[in-house]
Amino acid sequence: MMPPIVLRRVYYWVYGALLALTLLTIGVAYLDLGPLNVAVALGIAIGKALLVMLFFMHLRYSSRLTWVIAGAGVIWLAHLLIFTLSDYFTRGWLPVAGW
């Protein structure tokens, strides 16, 4: 099964959106939103990454297997981060030096 041909217009729209989001994330970074800064910056980055994956990388038009593979990569990355951080964020919970 060869991948379908996407309308060229779609690429230009996605491109525009990516540029707009880049400007947005830089702009927002100048505001002090407290802990929200990180969430917003990463949220925008995830949005941009999704746009690139879905349209430029044709994920939207790909088989379910491709979705599973791409998802596995992201989930494993999240797993690596979460399980590693689970150590660091719970170290102070016991009243003993070193924990």
Partner: protein
């Protein structure tokens, strides 16, 4: 059925001759043999280091070699055996040889990439050999920081480069397997008709893909830290040595499953072939491989229970480690049940397979001791750990590897090895293995720490027993080397299917033609259709 040697038939071994026809081959079967030659060499090199260590430990004083030398011996033993023997052993040799044949394909999806993997592997092992010649490395195969990054005065960076390069060989092999299994199965070969060997390699490949890159980057950071004198894991600059351990074990614990999952796949093939019986609980064995591969990624912290890791993180890791025992147990029970009401014959591959089940059971159960938090405090970093993982890796993986080499030897070479010698060496290996490693459980619980060059006198008797066992084990490994090499040339022809096995690889001639099958097979049955009607039984997944 009768061996056809009257007219020399063209097959993958005689289709062309000369060094170039091997070094530039893209035939997965020839690449498998290249791997076989390379890893056999490395196995005996790693084994030589082990022999020297066991000789040194005969006496408590540490009077044979110096401490630096001893430390380099166990490091090189670990690095070579883990990265250059156990990890590639079954996947790169037998997986490479068999997966395309088992799924009825002409080759792997990316044959040139496959050859490139072997070259990467070879380059990696050359680095390691060069390190040994130059003077060795003394960090232990675990490369714990800050010892490896700041304090060690040995050749850490070249060793890391070797492992890094070899890592890409693993990744590309895994990638090749996954793509091949997905896209190149013969008509009619649905997922639940696949041999469990293929399932096991699929699970293994997942770990290759998802784990190997992390250790590659982590070791690169250690190399950077050494080269530029910057602190990444160095506490003096606010770095955290525990972070290294997290990233290291993120790969290196699942790597244990890289070593043992293919072995489990082998055992499923052997048990069914020699009991002439359909595997018991196909679906459970197939999915337990995937479960082990996935849960195996959630347990790495059990190497760090006394490292200063948070108590709560330790609890999660302990819990997950307990869970990973379940799919392993499921496999053992299903194999045993497969024997029930079978028609069991005792050719040497079956002896290895039964040995695997027994030793893996012991190795797996002692793993629970290490996963159990309170108990692990005492036994971690002692000989208990050494004994445990040798039961898994030597008692498990190496037994299965040898069983597999014997089982598929007729397919690979077209000739039959001498059965008497094979039975003899299987027995010697089993006895030697247990004598070597069982005393180490006792030593471990007594409290003898690992990586000790000399030790208190009361541990001597058990150490002598272990060394004595090692000498028997060593003999057990040399004997097959000799008779298998002899058999390649002089033994009697074997015929396409000497065991009467049902897998696709036995449907073609031995040795197989370059493209494996004269014509693409059409599959109507599952891989273990022993005594089953021609048409697949509905719901035959079990």
């Amino acid at each position: 059925m009768s061996p056809t040697i009257a007219t020399p038939r063209e097959h993958y071994l005689n289709v062309s001759y000369g060094i170039k026809s091997w070094l530039l081959t893209t035939d997965h079967k020839r690449i498998a043999l290249l791997y076989l030659a390379t890893i056999t060499l490395l196995f005996f090199m790693g084994g030589a280091a082990a022999v020297l260590m066991r000789l040194e430990l005969l006496t408590p004083q540490g009077d044979m070699v110096q401490s630096e030398t001893y430390n380099k011996l166990f490091t090189i033993h670990g690095v070579v055996m883990i990265f250059f023997f156990l990890i590639p052993s079954i996947p790169a040799v037998l997986g490479n040889f068999l997966i395309p044949m088992m799924i009825g394909a002409r080759d792997l999806a990316f044959p040139r990439l496959n050859l490139a993997s072997w070259y990467l592997f070879t380059i990696g092992s050359v680095f390691t050999l060069v390190v040994v010649v130059m003077g060795g490395v003394d960090t232990g195969w675990t490369f714990y920081t800050p010892f490896s990054s700041t304090y060690s005065n040995s050749y850490v960076v070249p060793t890391i480069v070797g492992i890094f390069v070899n890592g890409f060989s693993s990744i590309l092999t895994g990638l090749n397997f996954i793509v091949t299994i997905h896209t190149m199965r013969a008509p009619g070969l649905t997922w639940f008709r696949l041999p469990l060997f293929v399932w096991a390699h699929y699970a293994t490949s997942m770990i290759f893909i998802l784990g190997t890159p992390v250790i590659a980057i982590t070791l690169s950071l250690v190399a950077l830290e050494r080269l530029f004198g910057v602190g990444i894991f160095d506490p003096a600059l606010g770095g955290d040595p525990i972070l290294f351990q997290h990233l290291f074990w993120f790969y290196s614990h699942p790597a244990v499953y890289i070593m043992v999952l293919p072995a489990m796949g082998v055992v499923s093939e052997l048990i069914t072939a020699f009991a002439k019986k359909r595997i018991f609980g196909y679906g459970f064995i197939a999915f337990s491989s995937i479960a082990i591969a996935v849960i195996g990624f959630f347990v790495w912290g059990h190497h760090m229970f006394v490292s200063g890791q948070s108590v709560y993180a330790s609890m999660i890791f302990s819990f997950m480690s307990m869970l990973v025992a379940i799919p392993s147990a499921v496999k053992v029970f299903n194999w045993t049940a497969t024997l029930y009401k079978g028609s069991i014959s005792y050719q040497s591959p079956m002896l290895y397979a039964l040995g695997f089940i027994g030793l893996f059971t012991i190795g797996g159960l002692t793993g629970l001791f290490l996963a159990s938090l309170g108990l692990d405090i005492h036994v971690t970093d002692t000989y208990f750990v050494i004994a445990h993982f040798h039961y898994i890796m030597v008692g498990g993986t190496v037994m299965a590897y040898l069983g597999a080499i014997h089982y598929w030897f007729p397919k690979i070479t077209g000739r039959m090895y001498p059965e008497g010698w094979a039975k003899f060496s299987a027995l010697v290996i089993f006895i030697g293995f247990n004598l070597t490693f069982f005393p180490q459980f006792l030593l471990g619980y007594l409290g003898m720490p690992r990586r000790y060059h000399f030790y208190p006198e009361e541990f001597q008797v058990l150490n002598v027993m272990s060394s004595a066992g090692a000498s028997i084990l060593g003999v057990g490994y040399v004997v097959p080397l000799i008779y298998l090499i002899w058999s390649m040339r002089y033994a009697a022809p074997a015929g396409p299917n000497p065991w009467g096995a049902t897998g696709l690889e036995w449907q073609t001639s031995s040795p197989p033609p370059t493209h494996n099958f004269e014509e693409t097979p059409v599959v109507t049955q599952e891989a273990y259709a022993y005594g089953m009607p021609e048409e697949d039984i509905k719901g035959g997944r079990g």
